[in-house]
Symmetry: C2
């Protein structure tokens, strides 16, 4: 373990509260049987907001609207509203009008301007938002704003089996501030994109450029390293809201406070990203993937992503089969520079672990490892795979999972 993040940061998977923020998660009628399906995260004062958004060219209406809000009103955001069940993607002009109406409905309930509301949607692509239910959700959520972050995190779930929360409180010379976030997975998770839905809030005061840089850096270190199935949604976005209610102001990325903020933000986002992978559709095994000593940083990521996206690698993990040849084959077809005669491949037990790592492949051929030992390692629910490329000094870490029967079951009847 040698993350650059300082070890003093202690993340908890719950949220006690963040000064100036209130939240709600309600049942608008989008999901069946009373399940929570509509959330609002609101600030009692104008907030700086910055986001990273899907690079899919087919962007959902709420993505387009929220990008516009960030660009035009990025220092004056008051609320984010999120619905499930319908992605409002591939829905044309009617979809855009519905996204705008969703913002107006929420603004009306809270008594703010529609321009101060960002919107997010997740669910099936190609169906229009059921606006009567959205209106119902806005009314119910607007009336029940409080401190129930668990409800808000639950209300944004789709096929997730559990809500995802993370928070940390940081002490500075100016006083304390908190960073807290919620996110949802759990399919259509892929690298190099904003990926999934995430909302991270802080009561620190940030400038908009600082917030933008921080959320981009955080996403690159976290959500962009989390791979479930290689698909990237039309709706992915992660937004950071900073309202300054703590009285702690952070404005220089290069300052000690700035670096501490970025490190803490990275940890909160990494916690959320790992929670997303662990709760990925049908996941039975969490794989930490360490690509070391690649020729370049791009090569390291390319090798890691190709391994993490390989159905053959993922099904072997599901079957507890230490079929490491598939990992080398995936590395070889990644397009990155690789001479497999220089590579070493190891398995270890645990998350981001190198403890008692077993070397399976070296000098272009299998080592004399024990198959029983390899199988013993891979049977754990947390396994770290370490590929030392021997090509240079660039490294990266990714987090991924196996591919199971359950993934196929979930996604073969998702709309029913």
């Amino acid at each position: 373990m040698s993350e650059s993040v300082s070890s003093e940061v202690k993340i908890t998977n719950s949220i006690d509260g963040v000064a100036g923020f209130s939240v709600a998660g309600v049942h608008a009628g989008l999901k069946k049987e009373g399940a929570l399906d509509f959330a609002i995260i609101a600030s009692d004062r104008p907030s700086v907001a910055a986001g990273v958004f899907t690079r899919n060219t087919v962007k959902a209406a709420p993505v387009l609207l929220t990008m516009q809000r960030a660009a035009e009103h990025g220092e004056d955001i008051r609320a984010i509203a999120i619905n499930t069940k319908s992605a409002n993607a591939c829905t044309g002009e009617e979809g855009m009008a519905n996204a705008e109406k969703m913002a107006r409905l929420v603004a009306g309930q809270i008594g703010i301007n529609a321009q101060q509301v960002m919107v997010m949607s997740t669910g099936v692509i190609g169906t229009q938002l059921p606006m009567a239910k959205i209106e119902n959700g806005a009314q119910l959520a607007g009336k029940s704003l409080g401190n129930d972050w668990q409800a808000a995190a639950t209300a944004i779930m789709t096929t997730d089996t559990r809500p995802k929360l993370a928070s940390v409180t940081i002490s500075t010379a100016q006083g304390e501030y908190t960073i807290a976030g919620i996110s949802k997975g759990s399919g259509m998770i892929a690298p190099n994109m904003a990926t999934m839905l995430g909302v991270v809030v802080t009561d620190a005061e940030l400038s908009q450029p600082f917030a933008q840089q921080a959320v981009r850096t955080g996403a690159d270190a976290s959500f962009n390293r989390a791979i479930v199935d290689g698909d990237t949604s039309t709706n992915d976005m992660v937004v950071l809201m900073a309202n300054g209610a703590s009285g702690v102001s952070i404005d220089q990325m290069e300052s000690a406070d700035g670096q501490q903020f970025q490190a803490a933000l990275n940890e909160v986002m990494m916690s959320l990203a790992k929670q997303v992978v662990r709760d990925g559709e049908g996941v039975s095994k969490f794989i930490s993937l360490h690509i070391n000593n690649a020729a370049t940083a791009e090569d390291a990521l390319q090798i890691g992503r190709t391994i993490a996206n390989s159905p053959l690698v993922k099904t072997a993990f599901f079957g507890n089969d230490a079929n490491w040849g598939r990992i080398m084959a995936a590395a070889g077809r990644s397009g990155a520079a690789l001479d497999h005669h220089l590579a070493h491949l190891y398995f270890a037990v645990g998350e981001d672990s190198t403890d008692d790592a077993l070397c399976l492949f070296a000098n272009g051929q299998p080592t004399d490892y024990s198959e029983e030992e390899a199988t013993r390692i891979i049977k754990h629910s947390d396994v770290t795979v370490i590929l030392d490329c021997g090509m240079g000094d660039a490294s990266c870490r990714l987090w991924t999972c196996d591919l199971s029967h359950e993934y196929v079951s979930i996604n073969s009847d998702y709309r029913s």
Copy 2:
């Protein structure tokens, strides 16, 4: 249906014989219970041989040896030997020595030089070839050379459930010649590579440069358009052998005979490629994917490959769920130029069919199609998906399949 290939070419999925060629498929002991596992395809005279080889940088020893044979002895090849169960990849110097020994053993049985023998291997990566069994296979196969192409095609199978054969006989002013091929799938099948193992032979006389161009062109039109799971093996190769035994000589690609040969070769290879997809691991549905009117040929392929590789698209097909939004989402994340407001998406029943195509998406939003009609189409075992990008005039066709429980089952315990 508007393939440029001439309609006079009639492919059959069996091989009656090809002048000057003899084959064998035997049980060397690599597989259990007497299953055929070792094959030889031999010519009674020196043949021109040319191939396309995996672009995976982790190339198996037999790939490296056969590439060398093609480069140095490409007008003097007499035989190709193929074993299953062990890929002889990631096996270092010992693996290379074993590949050379396999060629020597086969040469000794047939009474030719080792340099005249190409070798192919398929199976688990990272285990050394069991040379006693390989020697047994060479002896048995050498003694039983004959005309049993079915046995040879069966002997190269791994998780394939049926052998794959295709042949055609062409009449020319010089007389008749035959093109015949066998191949194996059925996982680790991906685009833009030589993909899988294939041997195509002809009794036409070709120059080595002609054969090289023809096999590359044929592979691009066939195996490189066949996508099962997006993984590309360390061992993929397709080799064309031409021995001239028919007395028909074809030396100009631009001549009518040359174009007819290429068209016929493409059809044989397309038949083999489609057979590979249809027999892909756990496949229950064959999808013809037509990307029309993309901005460039590269864009068309990129869009098609991203759709064909999407686990979410593939699982929806498995579940008979007409969840077309996943297709648009995959197209959008492909990296190719795409404005989804200009796109039209259709489903039709059948292989490479546009009959009664149902339009699901147009003008940036769903059409008023009937969900029942969409479901009726997608329940067929043969479905064509047509994406008209509206961006330009480049088009391509690919063939792919669904992702099923059975795929996961097969690949989670492949080595056992």
